[in-house]
């Protein structure tokens, strides 16, 4: 039910976006003249990279683009390199960029002279979820046990996650603020590394994305405690959400596509349509279900509003982290 609703909504949005740009007849005729560069804000092999390459393979397999899509990794400086690159590509109709949350956090944390408001939003493909995990051998069964255990550890509780200032550390900060916890945050290189260290007992808990911990969960090595989502995640029907438990803790990782400033509206319409088709493919829909991603399609001005709203939220979060 949920997917159908979002898809219908998506079509309506795309239609309205189309109307806004209706004027020139060229809107229907524009097509890329050369291969399209797909900039990835992360290095090769990570979660963001894998997803971007999945998109590319679906586009290619289903023949959604007239020209090939070439993925280019620019992961330097938590995406700073990619953001600078996109800024330099102003007005280029053959560049798109796959984003994650560093799209707003990196310009907030480091002064790289990029204002994301200038970029052209294309489409939001999905929202990735976060779950609080412990090792399946631990005695912790629910959130109350968890909070009690962390408090009992008196500051030596080890939470593993990705680099400081990135998503996992923000979720951890939210958790600490909400429950007044004292947690030692241990940064690792990637989510897979974190999951392995949790299974191996080198850390006490994690806030991995479901896709990063799924394999271990299925093998009975990890236990989900609570999800940072408003509704329960389909793959973990027995795991309560933070909202259910009375805590307003919701955090998403967005997976979207944006384009440089000043892209031709006709080109924007072309890419929007391409991703709309991609969103409707069975392969993508199955993938999102299996990996507990929310396929929440959004385009145009709504997407830009969403970006700016999220940027404001992250500004606040980062501020509270700096104080703490």
């Amino acid at each position: 039910m949920k997917t159908r609703f979002t898809r219908r909504m998506a079509m309506a949005l795309a239609a309205s976006a189309g109307l806004m740009m209706a004027g020139p007849a060229a809107a229907e005729e524009w097509a890329p003249q050369k291969p399209v560069e797909m900039v990835i804000m992360a290095g090769q092999g990570g979660g963001a990279d894998r997803l971007a390459r999945l998109f590319q393979s679906i586009i290619q397999k289903e023949g959604l683009s007239k020209m090939p899509i070439l993925p280019v990794n620019k992961g330097g400086g938590s995406g700073a390199e990619a953001l600078r690159y996109l800024k330099d590509k102003s007005g280029d109709n053959h560049v798109i960029m796959a984003t994650l949350n560093s799209y707003y956090t990196t310009p907030l944390r480091t002064d790289i002279g990029v204002n994301i408001e200038e970029f052209t939003p294309i489409a939001r493909m999905a929202l990735d979820t976060f779950v609080l995990w412990v090792n399946a051998d631990s005695d912790i069964q629910n959130l109350d046990d968890y909070v009690a255990a962390v408090k009992a550890a008196g500051g030596s509780w080890k939470m593993g996650g990705t680099g400081t200032g990135q998503e996992d550390s923000l979720v951890t900060a939210m958790l600490q603020n909400e429950f007044g916890l004292d947690i030692t945050y241990v940064p690792f290189k990637g989510g897979g590394d974190v999951a392995k260290n949790l299974v191996g007992g080198h850390i006490d808990s994690s806030v991995n994305n479901p896709s990063e911990a799924l394999g271990f969960y299925q093998a009975g090595k990890l236990r989900p405690i609570a999800a940072f989502t408003p509704d329960r995640i389909e793959v973990f029907p027995d795991t309560p959400t933070m909202t259910e438990l009375g805590h307003d803790l919701v955090y998403w990782m967005q997976r979207s596509f944006v384009a440089p400033a000043g892209m031709d509206p006709a080109a924007v319409a072309y890419y929007t349509e391409m991703f709309e088709k991609l969103n409707a493919t069975e392969e993508w829909q199955t993938y999102t279900q299996e990996k507990a991603l929310m396929a929440d399609f959004l385009t145009g001005q709504e997407l830009q509003d969403y970006f700016l709203e999220e940027r404001a939220k992250h500004d606040e979060l980062l501020g509270s982290m700096a104080e703490g």
């Binding site: 290095g43 894998r50 390459r53 590319q56 330097g76 390199e81 940064p187 290189k189 299925q218």
Partner: protein
């Protein structure tokens, strides 16, 4: 018995005409990609990954694994012929491979590298077949403290055994460590050592840029100066008898190679470490256990065989955590992992149970890929050796262009090209002053790993430094490191005492 049944099913998959064809294409492509300075298995796999959907997943992973293997074989080729390690895993191969080529024994060195790679690959695949599942638990036992101890061990084998000038080695390690801190710090997320506010430094200094600079450009400059007219290397001949002689020579190295294979497999299996420390440690141990350690670094055939067995064994080893735990042991396996996700497979503990066809198809294809790689490699050796017969003036301009293109291709940043030129000049000057390059380059590769795991441990243990010694695995490694470091020091002291006493007598 059940194992053999699975393996037989796997061979049924990997020996199908389509898959055999794919393996041969894959290893040949991989061999050339690996032989190009700058390009490595990561690039090869990344390029091919998106087009793999035209074949079934089992064939796709076989293709990628074949490229991966081919590139590991190929890495030795540029190390030996040009003295430029194409990947960090092949740095140790230059120590003796390059001198051998300069003595006109390039063919023999290449044969040694190919055969050693085959032995390392095969022994490790057998280990993989037999113990994949139980060994996954060992990988889990490795936390940050153990990682640190392991990298430290790799460093000490090097300092301790590297030996011509310990002081210069240490200076170069420090320089490499300093360069390794450039970029965004993982732990705090803050930028460090961003020279001239140049945004290119945010992503740090990559191994390739430094290695191509100091080995490629630096070497060319040095050679131009020292050998204006003389050819850079004695042209090598390669005949069938020589091939036979080579294989016979290799046959004497079973101790070195089996040691290297086991070591490589186990070190490669640990998620963070990978093939670079494995190759290094294997070289160190080969020198330590050799009856003629003085020959190392001057063209000893063991010095080529030891790192090559280990790095190939490690590349098999690093497939283990990827398949059983879903954790990539190297950038290339990270891409392979991405591929598996793309085909709808969930790597991790359940893969062996849910997708036996896929897993055993892959394992059996490792056997065929290995065999194909060694045959293709041996067949092409005359071609590689022939490349060295080019006039020096032609060869050196060619290498120069290769270096710049190879440095630009992976990241496509002009920033890297300028860095390569800069490092080339610096490398030339340092070489003139007799500083060794390998410690510099290896410190850059291992430094970030060591720093990261050191700080992670200290954060986890609330600043308790003793944690490294208290944990059994890391404690053992640290104890071995101390021995390795002290051993050559003792030798020096002994020699010094003798020298001091002999005139008095």
């Amino acid at each position: 018995m059940e194992l053999l049944g699975h393996l037989a099913d796997g061979f049924a998959t990997s020996l199908s005409p389509l898959n055999l064809f794919i393996v041969i294409i894959g290893v040949t492509a991989g061999l050339f990609i690996g032989a190009m300075p700058g390009l490595g298995s990561v690039n090869g796999v990344a390029i091919v990954l998106p087009i793999t959907f035209i074949v079934p997943p089992a064939s796709a992973i076989i293709l990628l694994a074949a490229i991966y293997y081919g590139a590991m074989y190929g890495g030795a080729i540029s190390s030996i012929l040009l003295g430029i390690p194409g990947a960090s895993t092949a740095v140790a191969t230059t120590f003796d491979g390059r001198p051998m080529a300069q003595q006109g024994k390039a063919g023999l060195a290449l044969i040694a590298a190919a055969c050693a790679s085959f032995v390392g690959g095969t022994i490790s695949v057998v280990l993989f077949t037999l113990f994949a599942a139980p060994l996954a638990d060992i990988a889990l036992a490795f936390g940050p403290a153990e990682e640190f101890a392991l990298v430290l061990l790799a460093f000490t084998t090097f300092v301790g055994l590297g030996g011509d000038d310990v002081l210069k080695t240490i200076i170069m390690i420090c320089l490499g460590l300093a360069l390794s801190t450039v970029g965004l710090d993982l732990i705090s997320g803050q930028p460090r050592l961003i020279f001239f506010d140049e945004p290119g430094f945010y992503s740090g200094i990559s191994f390739l840029v430094l290695a191509i600079g100091v080995y490629g450009i630096g070497e060319i400059l040095y050679t131009i100066e020292t050998q204006k007219t003389a050819p850079q290397v004695t042209p090598a001949k390669l005949t069938f008898t020589e091939l036979w002689y080579g294989i016979k020579e290799i046959n004497k190295l079973w101790k070195t190679m089996s040691l290297g294979s086991f070591l490589g497999f186990f070190v490669g299996m640990l998620p963070a470490a990978g093939a670079t420390p494995a190759a290094l440690m294997s070289y160190g141990i080969a020198k330590l256990t050799s009856k003629t350690p003085e020959k190392f670094g001057k063209g000893a055939i063991e010095g080529v065989a030891a790192p090559e067995t280990a790095n190939n064994a490690a590349s098999t080893g690093s497939l283990l955590p990827m398949l059983t735990l879903g954790i990539p042991g190297s950038p290339t396996t990270a891409l392979l992992l991405g591929g598996m996700v793309m085909w709808g497979l969930v790597p991790g503990p359940m893969l062996f149970i849910e997708q036996p066809d896929f897993v055993w198809g892959l394992i059996s294809s490792l056997y065929t890929a290995n065999l194909a790689a060694v045959l293709v490699n041996l067949a092409l050796i005359p071609l590689f050796v022939w490349a060295l017969r080019m006039p020096f003036t032609v060869l050196c301009s060619l290498v120069f262009v290769l270096c710049l293109v190879g440095g630009y291709a992976p990241s496509q940043k002009l920033h890297d090209v300028w860095l390569i030129v800069g490092f080339g000049v610096a490398g030339y000057l340092l070489r003139k002053a007799d500083y060794p390059m390998a410690p510099l380059v290896l410190a850059l590769v291992l430094g970030p790993l060591m720093e990261k795991s050191f700080r992670q441990t200290l954060i986890s243990e609330q600043g308790n430094v003793l944690a490294f010694i208290e944990r059994p695995i890391s404690g053992t490694f640290i104890a071995i490191s101390v021995i390795f470091f002290a051993l050559p020091l003792l030798k020096h002291v002994k020699r010094w005492l003798k020298r001091d006493l002999s005139p008095a007598e």
